[in-house]
Symmetry: C2
Subunit: 320 residues, 2 copies
């Protein structure tokens, strides 16, 4: 089965999905849906408003649109016509998004795999797996070293900031504690530090630093360090989007400790998010082919559906 | 739902499953089935030959019997009467075992989750997940530091060996290569060493060492070190059953490297194998309750079924 894919949105995520669809044997790209008339791509480009006209040409539609407003406003309208996959990442509204997508997908015989990517996504899977193994699990998630988009945006809104990025870095001492089974009391705040790189005029720097480190919620409770760098240094060292993190679970079993650890080190956050999204897009198309309907979290998708290989092949080749 | 559990076999694995069933809120132990008339346990003990009489009292039967002969000979007879979970670990015969269990379980409206534990089991899941993320993944599995039961048995069969254990240790240089994305050419042989601890009379030691390091398949292709220790030292340092390992996958995404790593560090191999088995036992009971039938590999079991929490709770509490 070749899976015919459509992409909505052509930012970093949409472009990374396009790359993967073209690189993978079992997918073919039907086209990209955008509000813009022209895009810098060899793929066919269609107005997003016309997407429904192509519902019979597409097995799975990748919703590469923003979590802040686009997904809540637009995702259900795509689920009406298509089997979809998204990377909605607002943890506090997952249940709401799932319910909305489930209702529309079910009514239209489609599948919607929601909240893919790595957190939510692969980290959610490993949190649930780790917690399921022990009577009294101790679990910690650490993020970084990685570029935090939301915090970088916040930094850039401080007056006088010409360019700015924020990296979240887990404290090694906190990771060590979690690995040793002593992660119980660790808070997100005390186990991460925030490092900010900014381009700004000399005269503004003291005020900018003060405004950042005292910014409520975003920075105030954290150990925050602000570095001022030249435009050249910023251009050279701070244009990437690395990220990653750790889900560490420990438990006692008759007095014997066990440690279960899942970690990611990613040179490009959007590229890896796309990689997870595409694997779950493959699963979405297969779930639909198996005549399932409705919304699925990553926790409901059996792992064999992520793979290009058949289950039989995986058993025969020793993967199982 | 409280899950009523039965256990067949009362070796290390069966005892560890008993401990977990008693420690977890959502299970209760019906009893243990054994060929022995009395066991050192507070649980009810029944003759294994009578197990079928209790089929209506048990939601899931844990088959804590050996992979070498017991599982191939006996597992289908249990699948005739019970929803089962096993830790069959012969990678080359997984497909055969799956087919045999599927046929019997299906004919009798039962579920059989096969080949749980950590390898096969959690490692299988992470191999498939990692390979599904990249167009050209590079993946390595490393085992250890851990006690290898099969190799320890082989060592103990050498004439003159009074006590003996064998540990498998992954080479740090090989792990580093895999993490750096250079794991392509690593063989299992060159990326692991074997360390043997033996109690034997002085006069026998040279011959024993020679017989071990030249033992075909088991030791001959590996970097093997044999240490002779006193009975006291052996008793103090080599009575445990630690194990663990790593599944490391890397891939390139538009020129950006991503590393996905899953690792285990276990003070007690049988206790952790039991922990994975019990989580999949929970899933087996739920699959049956949802009116599914037949055999399942760990790759076919959606992760939310492993957890005591409901899917709704997991979404509400931010696990997803």
């Amino acid at each position: 089965m070749t899976i015919k894919a459509g992409i909505v949105g052509y930012g970093n995520l949409g472009q990374a999905v396009e790359y993967l669809i073209n690189a993978l044997d079992d997918f073919e790209l039907f086209g990209i849906f955008s509000r813009r008339a022209t895009l810098d791509t060899d793929a066919a480009v269609y107005p997003v408003a016309d997407a429904h006209k192509y519902k019979d040409d597409i097995d799975v539609l990748f919703l590469c649109i923003g979590s802040a407003t686009d997904i809540p406003e637009q995702a259900t309208s795509f689920a009406e016509h298509f089997t979809t996959v998204d990377t909605y990442d607002n943890h506090s509204k997952v249940a709401e998004h799932y319910a909305a997508m489930d209702k529309v997908a079910r009514a239209n015989d489609n599948v919607s795999v929601v909240c893919t990517g790595w957190d939510p996504g692969l980290f959610s899977m490993n949190r649930v797996l780790g917690l399921s193994l022990f009577p009294e699990p101790v679990q910690n998630t650490f993020w970084g070293k990685g570029l935090s988009q939301g915090h970088s945006d916040a930094v850039r809104q401080v007056s006088g900031v010409q360019r700015g990025v924020q990296y979240t870095i887990p404290a090694q001492s906190a990771i060590d504690k979690a690995r040793a089974g002593d992660g119980q009391g660790l808070s997100k705040t005390t186990s991460h530090e925030r490092i900010v790189y900014i381009v700004a005029d000399d005269a503004e720097q003291d005020r900018i630093r003060e405004e950042i480190v005292t910014m409520p919620d975003y920075f105030e409770p954290y150990d925050t360090t602000v570095h001022f760098v030249s435009d050249e240094e910023f251009e050279r060292d701070h244009k990437g989007a690395p990220h990653g993190g750790y889900v560490i679970t420990t438990g006692e079993l008759q007095g014997h400790t066990a440690k279960v650890e899942f970690s990611l080190a990613l040179e490009s956050n959007p590229n890896f998010t796309a990689a997870a999204m595409v694997a779950f897009g493959r699963a979405a198309a297969r779930l639909k082919e198996q005549r399932n309907v409705g919304a699925y979290t990553v926790l409901e998708v059996p792992l064999y559906l992520l793979s290009q290989q058949s289950l039989e092949d995986m058993m025969q080749t020793g993967l199982v």
